[in-house]
Subunit: 168 residues, 2 copies
């Protein structure tokens, strides 16, 4: 669907958005990092808002694929925590990319729906794993709290602790 240049743009945009924040990163900087002209960027994505949406959508898709792979090998609750702890395809040390994006974007931004869908999917998966919606809600609370704390404290301590708590 996307050209090689389009891929490179999305790669660099993703890293920059996650690290420095969406508002703080300009399209010119993304184009330069990707070794591409602004025209190419706009030919491929049309607008910054669409590029942001593509960034979050792909982040979800990749994260989700990784989760399913892990769950196939180990279908347990703490596997969900594991996939938040480290991901093979992108940075996670600043916390959850979706929480970060939600803090910056207005509610009516086209990408906001992607964020909400991602969180809903995680909650649904927890419900599926436990068979108990109430327990899934509880686990999801722990998980969100742990990744939020990672963003502020810079360590995975809370995530490790939450993983233990989830195991009861």
């Amino acid at each position: 669907m996307t050209t090689p240049a389009g891929q490179r743009i999305l790669d660099h945009a993703s890293a920059l958005f996650y690290t420095h924040g969406i508002t703080a990163v300009g399209v010119a900087g993304i184009a330069e990092a990707a070794g591409v002209t602004k025209k190419t960027l706009y030919d491929q994505f049309g607008s910054k808002a669409a590029l942001v949406t593509a960034y979050l959508q792909r982040r979800h898709d990749r994260w989700w694929a990784d989760l399913q792979e892990r769950l196939a090998a180990k279908p347990q609750v703490d596997t969900v925590f594991d996939s938040y702890l480290a991901h093979p395809q992108f940075d996670t040390d600043l916390g959850c990319g979706f929480q970060r994006a939600a803090a910056e974007l207005p509610r009516d931004h086209p990408a906001f729906a992607v964020i909400q869908a991602h969180k809903q999917a995680v909650r649904d998966e927890l419900t599926r794993l436990t068979g108990d919606p109430d327990r899934a809600e509880y686990l999801f609370l722990l998980l969100e709290g742990a990744v939020a704390r990672r963003a502020v404290e810079g360590t995975t301590d809370a995530l490790d602790r939450a993983r233990e708590l989830a195991a009861r």
Copy 2:
């Protein structure tokens, strides 16, 4: 300590930073909203970074004073949850202002220390209330998860649920 104009600047800056995000709000817009010149703003605060720091510091001070008032009347854990649910002096419906700021600011921003100090103070207060550091950590996880979810979902459902869970 601050002049009336300085107060008005901080008032409007706080509302704008919280609602639209720190990076997305410019000093010119703040000055205009406060009915003040940019020069006055810079005479009072010196830089945008210092204004941001003052915003978060005052938010913490006010929130903390409110919490202590509530705790004096009702020295229980769920009082901490209550003060996150609604605050008499500023908006809370987009989630925790400190989590939002942490998502936008680089780790070396002068205001980041204020954020970390705020979260540390809350955790310490929970430890004081429960007398049990482990239980305090657990409650703090629930609390952070609940306010993070408020930012994404736009409701206080998770916060209400966490309050119940905290009560056991």
